[in-house]
């Protein structure tokens, strides 16, 4: 314990002192070394997977991350606890994200650009992290349009995610592709219409 005990407290200190650097408060699990090894026992593993899922979601929400590249994330604080010198390996990270992409994991992730390939075959691709799912984003967008009285006006996609009017909204600086996905849901629900050509689309809510 002598070697490991001071580390978590150090970690807490640095995160408290330098809120701008990481700012995110990791849950207690993050300081628990076995958390970074997927547990072989099924029941433990499923609890661990759901803990990871909520950690990834809250981390991404905090840092406004909408998609992850698995390989690049392996060296970020999310998957690598430098103070413990513990990291998630590629296989386990994929397993966690695959779990998140299933209905068991509440569909909180989706592998990008995966066609007919099955889970595990892809080489550390990009993954959407749905701390809000597209349908939840759609609802948030509709609610925002309603609240700000922009029904019937044409909005560009750019002004939705980069404009001053939405600076305080959760979808500010959202990934364009994800926005398109979410707007598609609005269209499907009959709440919006997209027009214009690729790259300069506008959307009208009604």
């Amino acid at each position: 314990m002598a070697t490991t005990a001071p580390l978590p407290s150090n970690f807490n200190q640095t995160s408290a002192l330098a809120p701008t650097q990481t700012g995110f408060r990791f849950p207690p699990h993050y300081s628990f070394p076995p958390f970074f090894t997927l547990q072989p026992v099924a029941s433990t593993r499923s609890s661990q997977l759901s803990s990871w899922s909520s950690l990834i979601q809250s981390y991404c929400r905090y840092n406004r991350i909408f998609s992850l590249s698995i390989i690049d994330t392996l060296n970020t604080p999310l998957f690598y606890n430098a103070s413990l010198n513990r990291r998630l390996n590629l296989r386990d990270a994929k397993a966690i994200l695959s779990y998140m992409s299933t209905s068991e994991g509440d569909n909180r992730a989706e592998f990008i650009g995966r066609g007919k390939q099955k889970a595990g075959e892809e080489d550390g691709g990009k993954v959407w992290i749905y701390w809000r799912r597209p349908e939840e984003w759609a609802a948030a967008l509709e609610e925002w349009v309603e609240r700000t009285g922009q029904k019937g006006t044409v909005l560009t996609l750019y002004e939705i995610v980069e404009g001053d009017a939405s600076r305080k909204e959760e979808f500010w600086s959202m990934d364009m592709d994800l926005l398109q996905k979410s707007l598609a849901v609005c269209v499907k629900r009959g709440k919006a219409q997209i027009f214009g050509s690729e790259g300069s689309e506008g959307v009208k809510f009604f």
């Binding site: 207690p28 300081s31 070394p33 076995p34 547990q39 661990q48 803990s51 010198n85």
Partner: protein, 261 residues
């Protein structure tokens, strides 16, 4: 006492008379003593009654105060979780059915522990997959004080939790407090740990983690024995394995919060 010994038969009768006087006087003293004690007790109880009424808010709000209050009550042999039948007087005068504190405080202190008991059960159940049904009292305390809903947080002491767990005892042997090392853990699975398993958990609590070779060295166990114990514990989710340290390290999730703070 000055005693004149009269010879003959008269001594017999006077001695009898004397001892009779002694016994009646003794009995009178005893009853007077008992009476005064009884009045003292009833005065004390009514004072305690008033005290509980005037301070019921504090009792509910302040964990340290509540613990002291509960300690005082148990010192007086008053169990405020028990039903009224522990005091014949109350059952007899028809007020029975509620515990004395439920009557005094409209059930609030009593309910407090039952509510806390429900929270304890909830937390134990929701963390069972993670820690195999063994959670440290301090971890549980942190979870309860954080609460789940809005305004759900509750400031409780270790003592409160112990009492709440005790109040769950009528539900069977599922919930109990066990001591490993100097730390109290709440066990929410009916499984009994064998000596080897408790020894390992105790070692984990002291050292933070164990490895098979640590067990071999420190406890003089054969490798298969050490291996079997940690495998058993792992199967029950009582320990988690960390494979990134060379030799596998086994950590107890009951101390997740403890290691983090």
């Amino acid at each position: 006492m000055d005693r004149r010994r009269t010879p003959g038969l008269s001594s017999l009768s006077s001695r009898g008379l004397q001892s009779h006087h002694y016994t009646t006087h003794g009995a009178a003293l005893r009853t007077r003593n008992a009476q005064s004690l009884e009045t003292q007790l009833s005065v004390f109880q009514s004072l305690l009654h008033n005290f509980a009424l005037t301070h019921s808010k504090d009792i509910r709000a302040n964990p340290a105060f509540r613990a002291e209050f509960a300690r005082m009550c148990s010192a007086l042999n008053i169990d405020f979780l028990a039903s009224s039948y522990h005091r014949d007087g109350r059952a007899a005068d028809g007020k029975g059915g509620e515990s004395i504190w439920a009557q005094l405080l409209g059930g609030s202190v009593n309910d407090f522990y039952f509510n806390l008991g429900v929270l304890v059960v909830e937390e134990c159940r929701s963390t069972r997959a993670e820690n195999g049904g063994l959670i440290s009292v301090s971890d549980l305390k942190a979870r309860i004080s954080k609460g789940r809903g809005i305004g759900g947080g509750m400031d409780v002491s270790d003592d409160d939790i112990k009492r709440a767990v005790e109040s769950l005892s009528p539900l069977g042997s599922c919930f109990s407090i066990m001591k490993i090392g100097h730390r109290s853990l709440i066990r929410s699975v009916p499984k009994e740990l064998n000596t080897d398993q408790s020894t390992v958990l105790e070692a984990i609590q002291v050292l933070g983690y164990v490895t098979v070779s640590m067990l071999q060295l420190n406890l003089n166990w054969e490798r298969p024995r050490a291996h079997a114990v940690v495998e058993d514990l792992m199967a029950d989710s009582l320990v988690w394995v960390d494979t990134q340290a060379g030799e596998n390290e086994y950590w107890s999730p009951a101390f997740i919060t403890a290691t983090a703070t």
